[in-house]
Subunit: 335 residues, 2 copies
């Protein structure tokens, strides 16, 4: 039951905003048209690989929440998706990932060089689309966001290289930068083009930030409790890279002294991790009921996101309820 | 003698525009300040590695040519350097280069992952600086430029992978995109902030384009006729990658049927190239006096650059003569 309703909100949005999304897609495709075949080829592969288009949807929803009726939100929505796509391309090179959304990654098919350079191209095109939207404030927001994302990715890399156990604070700083910031900014630029008043633009930004945190925390949990048939990527990707994510931080808090030593040895001492060790960690996550702990964190963030929405006086109750449902969707996602 | 005068124009500019360049450097450093140590570390390494700062100088000179007396040109000058630095970081990963400007590359010291992500950070910061300059037209120009650079890099990669012999036209298209466009745009944004009239902004853009072409052609020639003590990078880098550059295209035009076969076999048939083959190619380049052919191409471009300048009615003869000297500097650079 739950899963059906969860699928429905994204599906529902794709139906209700079919016109806007089709314009976003058209703009995405036209920005991939290029006399350089390799860009077109890889771009089309990315577009066809799909994805939920959550960031463009956030921009569209936010602009509608503040009663926008112009067309600049389409450019900004497409720009957020391009920034996201560029980040994924580089991320997959950095992580040597082979699978994303059920499909081989660009780096695995065309090589790292192409993935790096096409990522740069998408990133540049994102800024060109923002310029077309002709909003300096949106450009400020999204250029800040992309600097923050890059900083977050560097921090994550530094953490992995330092091979130390992250604190919960360090974990949150990292995911705020690498994931939440773009969710938040996608919301904010919708508010900006709609000329929302400052504190309401700030509230929708905070809403996006909290939804982004929930999204990333669930993603990190799914690395241990999903399978690639639902998730579209391999289970244990984070684990094998030695990424310290919230489930592991919570586990380390709850574990007995003996189990703590095992966990530390697997994540901090070892250079590489095995499938058997992954099984062991999953066993420990179950033993200490870490999913429940994570759910508490997520519930808390969901409440915050709701209170961010409550601060916005918009009369547009339909849009508001979509944004509320998105909190639920993020909180209970299984893929 | 020639070398002394060549050094002098860049040195002269570094003296005459010391105040502006020091502001550009300050801005660069402040945009590298970051709570993420790795970014600061790599950023400082890049700044200390120096470079001629040609692009910021072009922005400054161009703004002065059109009598600009504001401060926005500093942001734009720093932005062009950041775009350039980001491009170099990714370029060196893509080419697996180990040496640049006499120093080990970032990828060789910190690894590809760090070079990719810090490149993304610099790129994002470039856009933040442009937003600070508050000129939508400059943002349009530089976002177009970075898309064009990325496209040029992809084209170059596609050419290398296709292992076909480039035509002169394909070569020029590639270097126009990957090098000239940023020279041209660095000039143009100087004209834009100075409110130059459209056709003069276009002329300084074309000037930059031609200087950029000369610069890249000389760079490609230096890959065969320099040594790393002058050039700061390894001789034969392009050769070992199998890059078809103008010297090789000209050589193939001039060569006897028998020599043509040898050249084609080395560049197109072989997967890898040896030091002996590099020696052979240099011998052939000498045999057919290819340096002279290249000089003719360069002279022609220098004339075009001069005529671009001649179209600008600026009374600022000192700045104009600097820009003229830069044409000569690019035309006869040895490093």
């Amino acid at each position: 039951m739950e899963e059906i309703s969860r699928m429905n909100i994204i599906e529902q949005l794709h139906i209700d905003f079919a016109k806007e999304l089709s314009e976003v897609n058209k703009l995405i495709l036209s920005n991939l048209e290029c006399d350089e075949e390799l860009i077109g080829e890889i771009g089309n592969y990315l577009v066809k690989s799909g994805g939920k288009r959550i960031r463009p949807l956030l921009t569209i929803l936010s602009s509608k929440l503040f009663n926008y009726d112009g067309t600049a939100h389409i450019n900004l929505a497409a720009a957020t998706e391009f920034i996201h796509a560029a980040t994924l391309l580089h991320d997959d090179v950095v992580d040597s990932s082979l699978l994303r959304r059920f499909k081989p990654t660009v780096n695995s098919l065309w090589g790292n060089q192409a993935a790096i350079l096409v990522g740069d191209y998408l990133f540049s095109q994102a800024f060109r689309m923002m310029v077309s939207a002709d909003s300096m404030e949106s450009l400020r927001t999204l250029s800040n966001a992309s600097a923050t994302i890059a900083r977050g990715e560097v921090t994550q890399l530094a953490h992995i290289k330092s091979r130390k156990f992250l604190t919960q604070e360090e974990y949150f700083q990292t995911i705020e930068a690498k994931t939440s910031e773009l969710f938040a900014s996608s919301c904010k630029v919708g508010a900006i083009v709609a000329n929302a008043i400052d504190n309401e633009a700030e509230s929708i930004y905070e809403y996006g930030k909290n939804v982004g945190l929930i999204f990333q925390i669930q993603d990190d949990l799914l690395d241990y409790f999903s399978n690639s048939s639902k998730m579209g990527k391999n289970i244990g990707d984070d684990f094998y890279e030695g990424k310290i994510t919230l489930p592991i931080i919570e586990l380390q808090k709850q574990a007995s002294d003996n189990d703590k030593k095992i966990i530390e040895s697997i994540f901090v001492v070892r250079e590489e991790r095995t499938e058997i060790e992954l099984g062991l960690i999953i066993e420990l996550l179950n033993k200490y009921n870490i999913q429940k702990e994570i759910n508490l964190v997520v519930e808390d963030l969901a409440k915050k996101a709701q209170s961010n929405l409550d601060k916005i006086s918009s009369k547009n109750t339909k849009i508001k309820s979509y944004l509320e449902e998105l909190i639920q969707f993020a909180s209970s996602r299984e893929s």
